[in-house]
């Protein structure tokens, strides 16, 4: 494994039609397998959406949801720690901007690790190296999984 590999976090992405009850169906499946959701977001397009979640047991979640007929994919994301006070997001966002790191999509949560920014970027290896060299803290995948 590359040195940056430990910072790659397996996010599950679930294709979902945009209609009532779909999120509940996904959440129920995860509950049945005692899978904990650490963070999630919904990206919506016209008539459909993609539910993205960080879970503690991604492989199990993949198997469960696929078994139920869902269309599921794994995606590598990275997690950057933020200062949990005003300006925390700005610090990280400015750093990414200055380093020309383009964000495909992102979502955040505030938990026991503090505030965390989840990022999907074009080139994760390069982003991990740049972010680390600039002094920001990346969370290892073991924190979640």
């Amino acid at each position: 494994m590359k040195e940056t590999g430990r910072f790659l976090i397996k996010q599950i992405s679930v294709f979902s039609e945009n209609r009532p009850g779909r999120l509940a169906a996904i959440a129920k499946a995860l509950e049945e397998e005692k899978i904990n959701i650490l963070a999630f977001s919904i990206a919506e397009a016209d008539g459909f959406g993609v539910v993205r979640a960080l879970v503690d047991k991604p492989k199990k979640a993949y198997e469960k949801l696929t078994g139920l007929g869902f269309n599921v994919a794994f995606t590598d994301v990275i997690a950057v720690k933020m200062r949990d006070s005003p300006g925390g997001l700005y610090e990280i966002a400015k750093m990414l901007g200055d380093s020309q790191i383009n964000i495909e999509y992102s979502y955040a949560y505030s938990g026991k690790e503090g505030a965390v920014l989840i990022l999907r970027v074009d080139n994760a290896d390069q982003a991990i190296r740049q972010i680390s060299s600039l002094g920001a803290t990346l969370l290892e995948s073991t924190v979640f999984q």
Binding site: S13, F15, E17, A45, G47, F48, R52, G69, F70, T75
Partner: protein, 433 residues
């Protein structure tokens, strides 16, 4: 002028039947001798031209289906060589392959003459401005009406389809008195006109619509007539017959099918039994004079009924009522024939989506709106929204190119569309005609 061809249009029924018999007999001999397709068909059904001794003997002849045109794509069934053809038209087939029709000079003349009779019978002629808002091109509607109307001396305004605001401006500026289009498009025009502050009833000279290419009801006819202040006449045809061919007369009680050009039967679609006047069944047409692409007992698939007896207008030719349905699953979307099987074939070429689909047809305003639901395959799902949007666009493009009509596509979860063991029911039609 009440009649275009009074001798023919008022021909006594017995004389007309004798003429039909002579034409049928000639047709059968001609095809038995010169058409390998019909020769084989007749042999297979054990019928020889000598067996046709009365007009009723037409029932001994084998049927012809749309699939025969597909199987003989593009022109294997034609009786005329390419050098005798003066035009092609192309319409949708039931699969990926379209249906090609060809015309000799005589075929075009008969088509135009048929329309000339029909247009005069509903009161169109010199002094009228006919706006032809059917599509021009491979579709038969535009060019068919165009030449028919020119023949009777009307002024043709060949607007073709689309750009509705401009159509309404031209309708006002050039004093259009008649329009040929689908009934739903005319309603759409009425709505667009109102948004522009134009009342078709009060601010234009429009007095009649020659409407067809899709099923419509008495309710829709009344709505058009009452709202727009015009008379609405039904027109009927398919590319296999030549194109739009037969039109209602001023009585508005069904379109006259000219007996010297076509012989009609109404059959029970299941048993093939011949039905009488007023009974609903499948329309079967024999084109008595077509040269390039003859049609004997062609099963178009439309459900309707007919009336015989002399019409109040004086014409002796039978009348066929507005089409009330189909025997198959063919849909008509904005005047264009769409077969679910075409969609199936198109989807097979796109690996990103599965083979299952569902069609939902509705009216948005006055216009048809078709939605096709497809499942995203597991292999092609990535978490990127842009990838999914690209898949949807690919499917929309492919379907648009195959069907010649705009389609909205909805991506759904794999396994979520209904599966069928027997006959698939893939169409949800919510239109109120």
């Amino acid at each position: 002028m009440m009649f275009w061809d009074p001798r023919m249009e008022e021909m006594p029924p017995e004389e007309l039947q004798r003429l039909q018999y002579r034409l049928l007999k000639t047709l059968v001999y001609r095809l038995y001798s010169f058409s390998p397709f019909y020769h084989d068909r007749m042999k297979e059904s054990g019928v020889h031209p000598d067996d046709v001794r009365t007009l009723a003997d037409i029932r001994k002849l084998p049927f012809m289906y749309k699939r025969d045109l597909r199987d003989n794509y593009p022109d294997k069934i034609f009786v005329a060589g390419q050098d005798d053809l003066v035009r092609y038209h192309v319409s949708s087939g039931t699969t990926g392959k379209p249906t090609v029709v060809g015309y000799t000079r005589n075929d075009l003349d008969n088509w135009t003459a048929s329309l000339a009779r029909g247009l005069v019978s509903c009161g169109l002629g010199r002094g009228d401005v006919l706006q032809v808002s059917y599509g021009y091109g491979l579709f038969t509607g535009g060019l068919g009406l165009h030449y028919g109307a020119e023949r009777v001396g009307a002024t043709v305004l060949p607007t073709s389809v689309g750009n509705t605001e401009r159509q309404i401006e031209l309708m006002q500026d050039l004093h259009t008195t008649a329009i040929a289009c689908t009934p739903s498009y005319l309603l759409h025009m009425g709505e667009v006109a109102e948004k522009m502050g134009v009342s078709i009833r009060d601010d234009t000279d429009l007095r009649m619509g020659i409407l067809g290419a899709e099923p419509w009801s008495d309710t829709m006819k009344s709505r058009i007539e009452d709202w727009l202040g015009i008379r609405a006449y039904d027109i009927y045809g398919t590319s296999e017959l030549s194109g739009p061919m037969f039109c209602e007369c001023s009585e508005q009680k069904g379109f006259h099918v000219w007996g010297d050009l076509a012989f009609i039967e109404i059959l029970d679609p299941d048993t093939g039994e011949s039905l009488g006047p007023g009974e609903k069944g499948e329309l079967v047409v024999t084109m008595l004079q077509k040269e390039a692409l003859p049609m004997i007992r062609y099963r178009i698939g439309d459900i309707t009924s007919f009336e015989d007896g002399v019409c109040a207008c004086g014409r002796t030719h039978p009348r066929v009522m507005r089409i009330s349905g189909r025997v198959d699953d063919m849909l008509i979307i904005r005047g264009i024939n769409v077969f679910p099987s075409q969609i199936e074939y198109a989807l097979m070429t796109i690996p990103e989506v599965g083979q299952h689909f569902q069609i939902v047809v509705d009216r948005k305003g006055a216009l048809d709106d078709m939605l096709v639901r497809v499942e995203v395959s597991r292999e092609s799902f990535s978490d990127k929204i842009t990838d999914l949007m690209a898949i949807r666009k690919t499917v929309e493009h492919k379907l648009r190119n195959t069907l010649n009509v705009a389609v909205n596509v909805e991506l759904v979860e794999p396994g979520s569309l209904p599966r069928f063991e027997g006959k698939a029911k893939r169409v949800i039609d919510r239109r109120q005609l």
